[in-house]
Symmetry: C2
Subunit: 239 residues, 2 copies
């Protein structure tokens, strides 16, 4: 893990860009060390530098968590293959034409998740080797990846998922194997993500402690207080 | 409003029993005055002195809210008519026999709500005349009554509803007229209250700011952290 730049922010948070092999990442650390860690995975419809993702990470770091994120292959700051570009163009075309998009999402998101898993685990290894990060470890954001990681990665002890993204069939079928405490965040009127699927997914999780927070509004309308609720959720399980 | 007894509790909370005409009530006030007020209405399947209701009220009072509750006619500490007893016996019989109970609930809960509305409004008048209570006013608990009060009582500025109770058809039809900020609390596996109805009700409310918190477990399994989440919800709207 190589740090390539850094800046000190309000609330005594240190924000650093890093690379781990080909993987570009960002790490936010609070003044208090060693800190518990939140892996903040976005679903890669946005780059990791998207302002609302960065704002969320900075808030949780100022609150006392180390927060780390990376871009997946073909996303954000990483080079795209011709196939990546073609799949995304086909998705945009189908969405624009109002055609069914499940099969396109399966072929796009399925491999994206599978390829992201070893990268996140390698990143977790590197992060936990830093003296300023102590654990325990929580996970926040991208549901499809989070399900897979929660199943294979015993170091993750609690997870907050955002329901606004396509979850491949193989991951939905794994939901019952997720048993860590969960907070699922749903935007009630999310245009591109059917509400029923999110409710079915919530129902399917195997966790004995699981909570759904649904707020009125579209995909990007999550109210800011949910960041604070998320911090308190992690406090209950990581502190 | 006549105070009939009182005791000082941990957290410097004063707990007092009162009567207002025939209505028996309990008022919890925090050390800081004048305090904002939460009307904590239970759905009268339990008396107001039920330990988990009292614990919730005490916690919110220690947190800084004045909290008041009353028993509805025929419930808790109030005398029952022969008709009350008959309706409840019929309900128990039908539940035990696994028969449909909607019509019984309509005839039982419909009038209970209609009769409770003027009592709660008179109680609110009396409470706001006390120097230790300043307002603004929130509402917590019994959904069916809360819908009606939110429609007719402009002094109520935010409401937390518990979905675990029968909501008469007339009140469900009024849900779209509720426009104050709402937090709806749902127990995902509540044996006696169909989940779909609660989700439909959440969908129907007219509020621009509405949040659903659903937790795994049965009717009485609401986790304690929801009391704290409720306090913070009221902080956003009453402070």
């Amino acid at each position: 893990m190589r740090f390539t730049s850094g800046q000190r922010l309000d609330g005594d948070v240190l924000e650093r860009e890093f690379t781990l092999g080909e993987i570009p990442g960002t790490l936010w650390t609070p003044a208090s060390a060693p800190a518990p860690l939140i892996l903040m995975a976005h679903n890669n419809g946005l780059p990791k530098r998207a302002p609302r993702l960065v704002a969320r990470a900075r808030q949780s770091a100022a609150y006392g968590y180390a927060v780390a994120t990376i871009d997946a292959a073909g996303c954000g700051d990483r080079p795209r293959t011709a196939a990546d570009g073609q799949a995304r163009a086909e998705l945009r075309r189908a969405l624009g034409a109002g055609e069914p998009v499940d099969d396109i999402f399966e072929s796009l998101v399925g491999p994206l998740v599978e390829n992201a898993v070893p990268e996140w685990r390698a990143t977790l290894d590197a992060l936990l080797a830093l003296p300023e990060i102590g654990g325990p470890v929580g996970y926040s954001g991208w549901t499809a990846l989070g399900i897979r990681l929660a199943v294979v990665e015993p170091r993750i002890q609690a997870a907050g998922f955002f329901a606004g993204g396509y979850v491949p069939r193989a991951r939905r079928e794994e939901a019952r194997m997720v048993t860590i405490p969960l907070l699922l965040l749903l935007q009630w009127d999310d245009e591109g993500n059917p509400r029923e699927r999110a409710l079915d997914l919530f129902d399917a999780f195997g966790s004995k402690e699981k909570t759904l927070h649904a707020n009125v509004g579209g995909h990007t309308g999550t109210p800011w207080f949910e960041v604070e609720d998320g911090n308190r959720f992690f406090d209950r399980h990581l502190k």
